[in-house]
Symmetry: C2
Subunit: 418 residues, 2 copies
Amino acid sequence: MDIKAYMVEVGVAARQAASIMASVSTGLKNKALLATADILNEQRNNLMLENEKDLEQARQNGLEPAMVDRLALTPDRIATMIEGLRQVAGLDDPTGIINDLKYMPSGIQVGKMRVPLGVIGIIYESRPNVTVEAASLCIKSGNATILRGGSEAIHSNKAIAGCIAIGLEDAGLPSAVVQVVSTTDRAAVGELITMSEYVDVIVPRGGKGLIERISRDAKVAVIKHLDGICHVFIDRDADIQKANDIALNSKTHRYGTCNTMETLLVDAALDEQVLLDLAVLYREKGVELRGCERTCAILSNAQAATDEDWSTEYLAPILSIKIVEDMEEAIGHINQYGSHHTDAIITENYTKGRLFLTKVDSSSVMINASTRFADGFEYGLGAEIGISTDKIHARGPVGLLGLTSEKYIVLGDGHVRQ
Amino acid sequence: MDIKAYMVEVGVAARQAASIMASVSTGLKNKALLATADILNEQRNNLMLENEKDLEQARQNGLEPAMVDRLALTPDRIATMIEGLRQVAGLDDPTGIINDLKYMPSGIQVGKMRVPLGVIGIIYESRPNVTVEAASLCIKSGNATILRGGSEAIHSNKAIAGCIAIGLEDAGLPSAVVQVVSTTDRAAVGELITMSEYVDVIVPRGGKGLIERISRDAKVAVIKHLDGICHVFIDRDADIQKANDIALNSKTHRYGTCNTMETLLVDAALDEQVLLDLAVLYREKGVELRGCERTCAILSNAQAATDEDWSTEYLAPILSIKIVEDMEEAIGHINQYGSHHTDAIITENYTKGRLFLTKVDSSSVMINASTRFADGFEYGLGAEIGISTDKIHARGPVGLLGLTSEKYIVLGDGHVRQ
């Protein structure tokens, strides 16, 4: 198989599909989403049979049980996929919205129209349900998409793609609106991320290694986040009950997510008892504590943190703790060691809250709320294709809006420049 | 001189300056802009003396007279620079604006705050007045900037940078907010566009060669446009007077600008006389016409256009003309051969106007208006750092808003995830 020729073929078909999608009505897009939901429902058994091929292969290849589990399409997960499609059908269509249309001194009327980006390439690892999530968001936002899932999920992904193709055709839309790359050859990824003629943006979803590789080699814009090194800073003016609740929730609600706190910053002016009490709560949850020198002097069971700890995303029941002189030091630490993802201050002080919001250079900045809220659903986006820590285009949780752009429209009545 | 070490030094200083700028008040930013205007005014003579060194060198190097002219800082141009600074001081500050702050079902309040991008690298060719324009927009939008002008303008740019530094210090801001790269070594550009740790976005301003090179090698996001291949389509339902006015203005108002029309598309259903009359108007202006076969059959003095003509930005009194069957063919031609810059339809037909706006995939799409309106000032942006034909982040004329981004802010009252 000539991978380059194959990918160009996929790219050409995607570009054509995108140009059709640019003016497809909301009703037809919803029809395609709902039809796909129905077909997935009918094809449950077939999906599980195809998925079993991937699971069998994964077991033979000695994949870790956790990985095999992520790969499995259980009846519950299929139901969630179907529900997800129906939810996306229910979301507002962002495209075609015209904003800020106003008259200029010359007499022309200038405004902005929200439009699809065009062709979105999505590269992801084992979970096959991402195929449906990503496809549904791209369809609703009027984009065409090229999906490249993990090779270990190829049978599942092809079966899902087959259902989506039927759903699209049901609505009279070209099946090339959603294409699953049918080869597991890694060269296909190299083509996908460099064929800027056919692809407008790449969204990588997966481990840090994958995202770093793609960011380095891409010749197409990438919407991504590398790390989630999130902080909670407990200010001297914090309400201690709120501080305990949030510091505990931000770390222990789930350990493996990117919006989990990895470093707790504590104002030196607070009573030592605050830290001692928190340590008890963490110990109950089985969280290992690593502290700066001053922290270790207070918490006898904390290990000494190394410099590396401050820039580590543990994704595990481990927490680094640093005592800082004041909010300025906390902000400095966050901007230096953090990953510009999500950071929170706990304070009752008006001025410090305002300053923290302005000075912390992260995609989500919070006052008196758990970092775990940094999520497309919690932010009311309805769905999320990822979280971006880039500053360009989309920042923070990326929903339908992040898959669109705005072009200028100008309405005249024969106007010319003087 | 170790270029890499020098550029890292510049980058570190810019990053520090950017973190200070993120929370500088509008008043102080305006103070810096107005102080710079005053200092430029005082230093007029010195600026012209420094500029004379560049001009002398340029003449010795045998630069074309047009290039030497672009390099000159005349009293008029200095006055325009000063006026530009005062205008930017008068623009609204986009940063800090909080939008869409609303309560979520969980009880948290989520909104978006507009913030500076951080550090903006601007690479441009000979015109030294760009130094002031770019610096003023970056200051007002709360960014730090690293400016790399053409080597032929190095004395002028350093003199201007000196004035800006005094203006910044007058307002108590670090002079590193605006840094002019002091070496003319081209390796500095290579460093600037790849040091993603210190630079958030690159804006190249110059010829196609420069922009292509930078886009290819950059490891930092680039806001750019490569070509301005703009179209006017005269629909069968056009008002002929409007069509004549706009077709003439779009081509002949200025030849060398990116929003100048390069290809005229004419509906085959129109009377031949329309094209004959237009040809007379173009002939009066000395515009050379190159037509498709059908055009040449009507216009005896038109040359035959080659396929290359349809994708050429002439930047000259040359126009290619194509007769198309209908609007669909016109849109197909624009999306295939155009550069997604600016395209206009002339029509009185409501449905076709609506379709054209939606289906043409360009940064500016117009009805019954000259393509020459695609400009930051005409769009009410107050100023323009460039025009983007990218789909990501900023599309069309880029003003202060294009130099900012939005981060999420979350306000809670001790809220945790359930």
